[in-house]
């Protein structure tokens, strides 16, 4: 195939540089300027290397003679010629290396679709960094590696700052223009493209002009999160209890593996299942005939947060000291009574943490919600009232907003508010975790109840009370007041009261909940596989993309190639960065030191940031400002940032599990820190690193929302390079679902996705156990 980016390769570096300098001058001047610059360039390149070699020799000789070990010792030297040689080396190695690497990056960048300026900046930064490192390395190897680890750890902080900076840069003007309080507490969101609200216009209510206030979406997000919590949280906690204490031993690994699998299924598949199966079913019991609304969203989101809740509560229940159980049984209590009265309360804060993490996930979810929510920007005032969350608001209207308009600003502003939401959840989570570590749970839970739940219930009832345009609202207020007891979802106090009376029944209920969890999983997987497996064939997987129109056969080859290219680039960015960051956190900082705290906070913020916010950030920075356009490069960078926290955390866990005696042994044998890390610590942590990589790839495969903003959403021909736009399998599935007459292919794509997730999950478990055995054996 012809190289479509040929023009990039044929342009000489210097010529291009001159082109940028004097773009509008005539060709003759340009040619002269080029000649001069080329001569200058060659001259500089020509006389530099001999001088550099001389300077290096001088320094090396001095180092051998004087036993100076660090850069500082050199700087203190009185030998002027030595100092000149030193600075000369530093400055000119930087210049030379940055020029050379600018060449290299620029040529590679042609393939990646980078604009020249960006390539040059990256090259310079890289070159200076590498130079400083090598120069320091000449004198002090340990220090240079430490700097290297620190630099990669700083990437997380830079990413957090960049996300905040660009989102606020784009979103704040609109929020200020509408007015902060009006933006958040105004009750109308109405966009009319023929009557858009304009900058500086005082948005008056009524009238035809568009109004951008987001209270309905804020309330929608809260309702969706609570709904997910009630369904997924209750289900998850009871499932976890059942798995740990009541499940037959033989079933246990199978069940927990199955629940983890649920975490890997792409959210578009959840949404599709909800739209195709759940909505028509719910439509039959809905008074308006429409199934979409808070109930449908709660069920779908509940299913999605289930694995998170189960995994973390399971861990914390398992971590409860065995003596609690033994003491309970010894006192004559039944097994059920002991579990619910002694063991579960002891794991309370862990369970609470799992619920809050679940809320975080529910708040940030987009693609699954958009298919079942009904998406009307009004207050959700019933179980079946179509409503909209913050995430949906962004995806829904972003494609129709004009650049620079107040509308687009308001949408990015929605992203800012969403980010604020997630930050609050994060802070609460950290608060609980910290108190968990210092065993202050007895104080913390009532505090949380007081701070979070009470005002929330108040706000809820107020919101519903105010909305009295329809007559049938009174019963909803009653629901909120009586049945919709938020506290019961957060704490286990009501539960325990219930258990006090009927422990056996609770056990049965926990079994039924486990059954429901497995049933959800089974029904989604079976629904997709039954409809899709039969349609997977060789032509679908490898056929040529012959055309865009409906008469041409669908081929998934472009999607598969795109997915592979994207996973490659994302992995190359995310995994080394994540592993180095984790090494820095675990090996170079003390627990609780300030640097570690800041980096960990950044990583946690990245972990909590919803994928749609990453999408917005990528769209603003990479697609528009840096001019990468809708391309595989933009998508990969964005998802690499998204996978970073997972990478860091999992590697850190792995490093933590390496016993200190290994390190001490290595030091005792005379190895340095760097050598110890690379030869002893990382190899011992390899099982968890490998598992992390596999799970990370799984997450990349499942990602959709952010890729639609940064990589594209329509099916097209094979990508010709990283500058092409493209769709991954998950996005291709979403595109196919929405194309009439392509259902079979859509199901086939979904089946492939589920099979990939299955293989990755099982592979991760198998490889981890295999490597563990091997490490223990050696």
């Amino acid at each position: 195939m012809q190289n479509v980016y040929g023009y990039v390769y044929h342009t000489h570096f210097v010529e291009l540089f001159m082109d940028i300098l004097d773009k509008n001058q005539n060709i003759e001047t340009n040619l002269n300027a080029r000649k001069i610059s080329r001569i200058f360039f060659l001259a500089v390149l020509g006389f530099l290397p001999p001088l550099l070699i001389m300077a290096y020799i001088k320094i090396k000789r001095h180092k051998e003679n004087s036993n100076a070990s660090s850069l500082l010792d050199f700087a203190k030297s009185n030998d002027k010629r030595l100092l000149i040689a030193l600075w000369f080396t530093i400055v000119w190695t930087c210049v030379l290396a940055s020029t050379i690497s600018a060449f290299v990056v620029y040529f590679i960048a042609g393939w990646f679709g980078f604009p020249f300026i960006l390539a040059f900046i990256i090259a310079t930064v890289l070159a200076v960094a590498i130079n400083v490192l090598t120069l320091v390395a000449v004198f002090d190897k340990e220090l240079s590696f430490k700097i290297g680890f620190l630099v990669s750890a700083i990437v997380a902080i830079v990413a957090v700052f960049a996300i905040f900076f660009f989102l606020i840069l784009e979103g704040m003007p609109a929020i200020r223009d509408v007015g902060f309080f009006r933006f958040i507490f105004g009750r109308t969101w109405r966009h009319d493209p023929n009557n858009p609200a304009v900058w500086g216009h005082d948005p008056t209510y009524g009238g035809a002009r568009s109004v951008y206030n987001i209270l309905p979406m804020v309330v929608g997000t809260i309702v969706a999160a609570i709904g997910a919590l009630v369904i997924g949280g209750g289900l998850g906690v009871l499932t976890a209890i059942c798995i740990v204490w009541f499940c037959p031993k033989r079933l246990k690994p199978f069940v927990s593996q199955a629940i983890t699998l649920l975490a890997g299924i792409p959210s578009v598949i959840f949404g599709f299942f909800g739209m195709q199966v759940l909505l028509p079913l719910l439509g039959n019991i809905s008074p308006t005939g429409n199934g979409s609304g808070p109930l449908a969203v709660a069920i779908v989101l509940g299913m999605m947060i289930l694995p998170t809740v189960v995994a973390i509560s399971k861990n914390s229940i398992e971590a409860v000291n065995q003596s609690y159980y033994e003491a309970g049984v010894a006192l004559g209590a039944s097994k059920e009574r002991t579990v619910f009265k002694a063991v579960v309360p002891a794991a309370k804060s862990g369970i609470l943490a799992s619920l809050i993490l679940g809320i975080g996930r529910a708040v940030g979810e987009t693609m699954a919600v958009i298919m079942v929510a009904g998406n009307v920007a009004v207050m959700p005032d019933g179980l079946f009232q179509p409503f909209r969350t913050l995430t949906v608001n962004i995806v829904f209207e972003m494609a129709y907003s004009e650049p620079g308009s107040l509308h687009q600003g308001a949408l990015v502003g929605t992203g800012v508010v969403l980010l604020g939401f997630v930050l609050i959840i994060n802070i609460v989570f950290n608060f609980i975790k910290r108190n968990n570590n210092s065993n202050k749970e007895s104080i913390i839970i009532p505090t949380i109840k007081r701070i979070v739940c009470k005002p929330f219930v108040l706000v809820c009832s107020k919101v519903f009370k105010n909305n009295t345009t329809k007559a049938d609202n009174s019963d909803i207020i009653d629901i909120v007041k009586k049945d919709f007891n938020f506290e019961s979802a957060i704490s286990t106090s009501l539960l325990t009261r219930f258990i006090n009376v009927l422990p056996k029944i609770t056990k049965i209920i926990s079994f039924i909940m486990l059954g429901f969890s497995l049933f959800f999983l089974g029904s989604i997987i079976l629904y997709v596989l039954i409809n899709g497996l039969g349609h997977i064939n060789w032509g679908l997987l490898t056929g040529d993309f012959t055309g865009f129109g409906r008469n041409h056969p669908v081929t998934l080859r472009p999607a598969i190639i795109t997915t592979l290219m994207y996973i490659l680039l994302t992995s190359v960015i995310a995994f080394p960065l994540g592993i180095l960051t984790a090494v820095f956190l675990q090996e170079y900082t003390k627990r609780g030191s300030k640097v570690a705290k800041i980096i960990e906070l950044a990583v946690e913020t990245l972990a909590g940031t919803p994928s749609i916010v990453y999408g917005l950030f990528g769209m603003i920075l990479f697609v528009t400002i840096l001019g990468l356009g809708l391309s595989i490069t933009s998508g990969s960078i964005v998802v690499a940032l998204m996978t970073l926290p997972l990478t860091v955390r999992a590697t850190q866990e792995g490093l933590k599990s390496v016993p200190d005696t290994y390190r001490e042994g290595s030091y005792a044998l005379g190895a340095g820190k760097v050598r110890t890390i690379f030869r002893v610590v990382i190899p011992s942590a390899l099982p968890s690193i490998v598992t992390m990589i596999i799970l990370g790839v799984g997450r990349m495969v499942a990602e959709t929302a952010s890729l639609m903003f940064t990589m594209g959403s329509s099916l097209g021909p094979d990508p010709v390079g990283y500058a092409s736009s493209g769709t991954t399998l998950a996005v291709a599935f979403y595109a196919l679902v929405r194309t009439p007459g392509r259902e079979n292919e859509a199901f086939a794509a979904a089946s492939i996705l589920i099979l990939i997730v299955l293989v990755l999950n099982i592979g991760a478990t198998l490889i981890a156990s295999f490597l563990k055995k091997k490490t223990i054996a050696s």
Binding site: A208, V395, F511, V737
Partner: protein
């Protein structure tokens, strides 16, 4: 162990019974006994604004109220029913929901066996008498300050030619370009800077643009599908692309934007033209016995005044 088996049995029985009850009720209802779900597009899309400004009532004794002016009245911030994401979103939703009604581009739905296209006031879409307000224009935008890349220019010439007209009309649209001339392709790929033609924009224009690209590839011997980088993310994307928002530095202009909103014809920095005119069709699920609907009924449905299919079908 026996106890556990009992528990599992109980679990299975409960789940199966819940599913069975839900499944049974799903099959029990006829559409006529169900409530109406009105499906709209997202506000901001060209289709939606055309719909809002053309659906009206005639009941107010001469004072015609359209959906748009109804929405502007105090207290009415949103239409009844739900909203879906893009034309495909609406179509997919109605294909799986038996009591839903919505609207989409006629050519995208007329051959879909899962849907039924309704007549309005007794007139089939396309026939004289079908409300002319339901026709809307597709706009093509290019950045006017930098010359287009040769291959992008060729494609632009192609879609305005008689061959382009044949494809557009073959898809069921009215061709809007005046005086199209036959397109003759150069025998070899234009030299100099090459690269993919970037096409960005509306989901409504997507189907016809896809056919045009296929037509171009078929008509030009050296062209391949790899010459096109096609993404339909919405009209906004088309306007960004067409007004130079995606062009960086010294990069040549390769981008063609598409929009389904006639208001975009005056977009700054872009040279624009109307490509085609499309008729919007009102669609319901194939199980719906309805074949004809009136403007007043549509107005009532979308404002929430009519909620039961029985009232519409038996009217």
């Amino acid at each position: 162990m026996k106890k556990l088996t009992k528990l599992f049995l109980l679990m299975v029985v409960i789940i199966v019974s819940i599913v069975a009850v839900l499944g049974f009720t799903a099959c029990a209802n006829d559409v006529i006994d169900m409530q109406i779900i009105a499906v709209s597009r997202e506000s901001g899309s060209g289709t939606r604004s055309q719909w809002d400004s053309s659906i009206h009532n005639n009941l107010d004794g001469g004072a015609r109220v359209t959906l748009a002016s109804w929405l502007a009245q105090p207290g009415n911030s949103q239409l009844a029913g739900e909203m879906q994401n893009g034309q495909p979103g609406v179509v997919t939703r109605i294909r799986s929901q038996r009591n839903a009604i919505g609207y989409a581009s006629l050519s995208a739905v007329e051959n879909d066996s899962n849907l039924r296209v309704l007549n309005i006031g007794g007139f089939a879409p396309g026939a004289t008498g079908y409300p002319t307000a339901l026709a809307r224009d597709y706009v093509i935008l290019t950045y006017e300050n930098v010359d287009l890349l040769p291959i992008s220019q060729l494609f632009l010439d192609f879609i305005q030619s008689t061959q382009g007209q044949a494809i557009v009309e073959g898809e069921g649209y009215d061709f809007s370009v005046s005086n199209p001339i036959p397109f003759t392709a150069p025998t070899s790929r234009p030299s100099g800077q090459t690269g993919p033609v970037q096409v960005r924009g509306s989901t409504s224009v997507e189907p016809v643009m896809q056919e045009l690209i296929d037509g171009f590839v078929a008509a030009v011997s050296w062209a391949v599908v790899g010459d096109f980088d096609f993404q339909a993310g919405g009209s906004g994307q088309g306007v960004t692309a067409g007004s130079g928002g995606t062009i960086q530095g010294s990069e040549p202009n390769r981008t063609i934007g598409m929009s389904s909103n006639a208001a975009h014809i005056d977009t700054a920095n872009a040279s624009t033209f109307f490509l085609a005119q499309d008729t919007m069709a009102v669609i319901v699920h194939r199980d719906n016995p309805l074949t004809n609907i009136t403007m007043e009924q549509l107005f009532a449905i979308y404002t929430g005044a009519a909620t039961a299919w029985r009232d519409i079908i038996e009217a």
